[in-house]
Structure formats: C-alpha cells, structure tokens
C-alpha cells in the first residue's frame, strides 16, 4: 500500500510538471469548444430575440432571457464540467481497472485513446472515399464500436508482447508503457502527419435549446450520455457476469484464484484489452469537438491519473465521482482564475486532499482493509 501511495504521489508531481510545462492542453482543448458553445448560445439567443422584438432595440439585451445571467452562467459551467468530467471518467475507468488487477500503471493509456480517435478518423475517410455521400452521416455508428475494438486489440497485443513479462515489477512496467506510448505516437505521426480532423455527422452538430439563452451542444450531450452508458456497462460487467467474478477474484488474490481454476493469464489479457478499449471509445469522441494530433492523449492522461488517485486506486465509484468532481471544479474555477491558474488551484486542492485522505475518496474499511 505504501508503494501505491508513493506512486500516487509521484504521479501528482508528474502531473504538476506537465501542466506547468504546457499550460493544460486538456483545458485549452476544451476551452475553444466551450467558447464555441457560448458563441452558439449568444448567436442563437440573438437570432431568437431579434425577430421577436423587432422594433424595440432594448430587447436585444440579455436580460430578456428566461433566467438571470448568473444562473445561466452556472448552468453553462455545470454542463461544461459534466462533459469535461465525462471524458476523464471514461479514461480513468480503464486505468483504474488495469491498475487494480495487474498493478500496472499504464502510461500509454492516453495513446490508446489516440488510437481510438484515429480509428474514427479512418472510418470517416473511408466512408467519404468508398460510400455514397448519403451514407456519410452513419459513419460514426461504425466508428464508435470499431474504436473500442481496435484500441482494445492493440492493448491485448501490447499486454501479450510486453507487459505480461513484467508483472510484479512496477518500475519496469512504468518504463515499458512509456516506451509503448512513444512508439504509438511516432507511428501515428508517420501515418497521419501532425494535425487532422473530421466532420462530425450532422446529427451531432448544433445544439439543443433548453430555455431561451441556454443551448447545450449536441456533441457534448452525446459525450455525457455515452459516459453514463459506459459506466453502467462496466458496473454490470464487473458485478454481474461470470467474467466479472473471475476478474474480481483475480484482483483480490491472484494465486488462490488460479488454484481454483481461474485462467489468470487470460483474465489479464482480456482486462487490459477492455481497459484500453474504453480509452479508445473516449478517443472516438474527442474529434467531435477538437482536432486530432498524435500527442492528444498525453494531455488527457495526466488529468485521468489525477482522477484515479483522488478516487482511490481500483475503485469504480471513486473514478466516477472524482472524474465528475474534477470536471466541475475546473470549470467553476476557470471563470475566476483563468485556465492556467484554475488548473494550478485544482492541483493544489488535490495535494491538500491527499494529505487528508491518502487512499482516495473511498478507502476500504474494516477487517478486509488490512489484507
């Protein structure tokens, strides 16, 4: 356990360094989108208001919205926080399951996300090239499951070729997964070049006008919905299926599970594939609101490591609460402190939090905590 704490501490430091070095890619990535979001709001609100109150020039003022400014802003920030948190939750789920089962800190997790994103890109390009234009809108329905499968498949391959030889040696796995991440980044750069993007399907463009003055972008709503579905699926898989039972048994006591007939080698490979597949799924969502580049995973993975550490390592509920919490906190602090200082404030809060609760939000209690 002390080892896990040391690693957690080291990660927070790494996170801090990375954030300072390049001021918060995640948030920068998120920021233009949010601005896009707010401009949509402004534009739609203006369009909405202008014809209705044609003659009176005063009608164009924001006070004509159904809610006061501060309430709208709070709603906006809540929504932005929820959607920023959703991506982190998707990534943290995979990280957390993998660490809980195998003790592997997967530094390449963000690159599996990148693999998922480029899979979606390839599907989109293939639809453009080989199918009639009318079919293009459906490419995303193919891209989503395929991103999961391709990222999961690459994950299974990496586990089989590299990681399984390094179980029980955390420092070596740390280095090896970092190596894998560099390899994947450079491979993507060789194939796809530096920055690309694709057109989201038309049914994910635009927004949903909830009340006058508040429009929620559809791509963000979709992201939140997908995250909820993924969390539910992970919960059911882990708690209700035979595979989940074997996964939990192996996580708790690997040698005894194998003495009861559990093929732990298979469980490891499948679990690693499942965790990286979830990252791939998250990756398929990013191009809906941001450009793709081979480095995209690195900015996200730092934040998702913080989610895992705050939530408690190997705790699914912890990952969900911490992911959403981190999203809210960042978005509420940003308007006050700007992106970079907001990020620093979040980091400082996490460091203080870990002094108070070193094992995260949901530590084990009672007899079983000692084992």
């Amino acid at each position: 356990m002390t080892c896990a704490r040391a690693i957690a501490g080291a990660l927070v430091i790494v996170a801090a360094c990375v954030c300072l070095e390049r001021p918060s890619r995640t948030l920068q990535a998120a920021a233009p989108m949010e601005m896009r979001g707010t401009t949509t709001v402004a534009v739609v609100a203006a369009l909405d208001v202008a014809p209705a109150a044609g003659e009176t020039s005063a009608a164009a003022s924001p006070s004509s919205a159904a809610l006061p400014d501060w309430a709208l802003e709070t709603l906006q920030n809540t929504f932005a926080g929820l959607s920023a948190g959703s991506i982190l939750v998707l990534l943290a789920l995979g990280l957390s399951i993998i660490f809980g089962l195998m003790g592997v800190i997967n530094l390449a997790h963000g690159e599996f996300m990148m693999v998922g994103a480029y899979t979606a890109y390839v599907v989109s390009e293939s639809f453009k090239a080989y199918l009639p234009p009318g079919a293009f809108d459906y490419f995303y329905l193919v891209a989503l499951p395929l991103s999961f499968l391709v990222a999961g498949g690459v994950g299974v391959l990496c586990e089989y070729l590299v990681i399984r030889h390094l179980y029980g040696r955390p420092i070596e796995t740390l280095l090896a997964t970092w190596g894998i991440s560099l390899l994947l980044i450079q491979t993507a750069r060789l194939i796809f070049g530096d920055t690309t993007s694709f057109t989201p399907p038309s049914w994910l463009q635009g927004g949903w006008r909830v009340i006058p003055g508040l429009v929620l972008p559809l791509n963000r709503l979709f992201l939140i919905g997908l995250c909820v579905a993924a969390v539910a699926a992970v919960y059911l898989l882990v708690q209700r299926t035979p595979f989940g039972l074997l996964l939990r048994a192996t996580t708790e006591d690997r040698p005894i599970a194998s003495a009861l007939g559990v093929p732990t080698r298979w469980i490891d490979g499948l679990t690693f594939g499942f965790g990286t597949g979830l990252a791939g799924l998250a990756g398929a969502i990013v191009p809906l609101y941001d450009k793709l580049n081979p480095n995209m995973g690195q900015s996200y993975v730092v934040d998702s490591f913080m989610v895992v550490v705050v939530g408690g390592i190997g705790k699914l509920a912890g990952a969900v609460v911490a992911g959403a919490g981190l999203g809210f906190l960042t978005k509420y602090l940003e308007p006050w402190l700007q992106a970079v200082y907001g990020k620093l404030a979040v980091l400082a809060l996490i460091i203080v939090f870990l002094q108070w609760r070193p094992s995260g939000l949901f530590p084990d209690r009672g007899r079983s905590a000692e084992s």
Partner: protein, 231 residues
C-alpha cells in the same frame, strides 16, 4: 495416485526442499508433519503449481503436472485449502463459492446442495462478505470453496490453525466423511498432533528440508515426536 518425485526447491540461493519423494495413497488422509520452517507449506505450493520446483516432478495418475500452471492442475482434479484460509475478502460467501464454477464455464452457476449439507453455517451467511466472517467460518468456506471444483485430491494447509475446538471437530468429521464415503484423497499439513492421530491415516515427517520418516499415524512413536516435533 499423487506422486512427488525427487523434488527440490530453492528461494534464490536458499534451499527449502531437498530431494522430497512421497507416494500419496488414494482415498486416504495423508498428513505432513514437521516444525515451523521445515518446508511443508512450500511443498504444498509446489504440488499445486504456485511455485515451480528447481528439479523433480509431480505426477497425478497418468498426468505429469510439473510444467502445468495451477489453473490447469485444478482442472485435472487438484484442490487447495491454503494456509490462513485466503478467502476473497470483498466477495460475498456465495461469490467465493462460485469462482470455481465460473472458471469452468459451467452452464449452471448453482452451488451443489451437498456443500451446504456439509457446512450449514455457509447457507445463513451467503450474502455476507468473506472478509467479515469469523476465522472458523472462513475455514469452512475455504474448504467448501475448494470442494465446489470437485477435486480428486485436496491439499489442506493447517486447517485447524486458530480455530475453536468444536469447529475443528466438525471439520475433522467432514474430512473423514469425504474420504470414506466419496473416495477423496487428502494431503494435509498439520501441527496439531491429536487431530492428526484422530483423523489421519498415514504421515510423512519432515525435518530440515527432507522427509525423515513415514508410516501409519497409529504408529507415530513418542521417540519420533520427541526428536522431530517437540521444540
């Protein structure tokens, strides 16, 4: 029939087992005796496949188990009740029991009724977490969990350690019943000499990495006990 042939094992440079040979009779309770640190638990781990011998072999019937992983040995009919019970603490009692069934992809995940006949206390506890059970309940769960996999040979590592007398009595009755009525073969590491004499058939006595004596438990002489067991 379980056979251990010329088995040696080292943790790094420290040799723990030296040229152990044992022929374990089928349908009997065979006890492995010895002081702390003579290598009894290490021997069971080697038989189960959780440790790999430096040299030597483990055979069961016509199968050579030596190069097989523990889960393959389990599928061939070898079961383990480990020292300290090693219940999955965050799994419920019923989930602890289901692990072996799930591992075998059985069409039904129903726990056989006779498990609850042998250990009635588990029925009332079925939705409690394993880690919240008392030591005696955990020991019964550990035996039941191994039995769900329907083993031919069951390895037990100190099943009486830290257990109250009437539960020890119950465990002894159950083990004897399994051997006499169902032909199970039991290999049991045990320190509690009265228990060994009461339910055991044969014994192997170990001292300093080696087997130093074997025979019927009824023939376990005061001299042997004095030389190799008393401190």
């Amino acid at each position: 029939m379980l056979t251990i042939q010329n088995l040696s094992f080292s943790y790094g440079v420290i040799q723990v087992l030296d040229d152990i040979t044992m022929v374990v009779p089928t349908g009997r309770i065979t006890c492995i005796l010895g002081r702390n640190g003579v290598g009894k638990t290490t021997l069971l781990m080697n038989v189960m496949g959780l440790l790999r011998p430096t040299i030597g072999a483990v055979l069961m019937g016509e199968h050579d188990l030596t190069d097989l992983a523990a889960d393959r040995r389990s599928a061939l009919g070898l079961g383990l009740v480990p020292q300290g019970r090693r219940i999955f603490p965050r799994l419920t009692v019923i989930e602890n029991l289901r692990v072996a069934l799930a591992a075998r992809r059985q069409p039904t995940d129903r726990i056989p009724d006779d498990i609850y006949d042998l250990f009635p206390v588990l029925k009332t506890m079925s939705h409690r977490r394993g880690g919240d059970l008392s030591g005696g309940q955990q020991q019964q769960l550990a035996i039941a969990r191994a039995l769900v996999a329907d083993p031919q040979v069951l390895l037990l590592d100190e099943p009486t350690e830290g257990i109250q007398p009437n539960v020890i009595q119950h465990i002894g009755t159950v083990l004897r019943h399994l051997v006499d009525e169902r032909g199970l073969t039991i290999v049991m590491v045990e320190q509690y000499l009265d228990f060994v004499k009461e339910i055991g058939d044969r014994f192997f006595l170990m001292d300093r990495r080696r087997v130093v004596a074997e025979g019927l438990t009824s023939d376990l002489s005061a001299d042997l006990v004095h030389r190799h067991l008393t401190v």
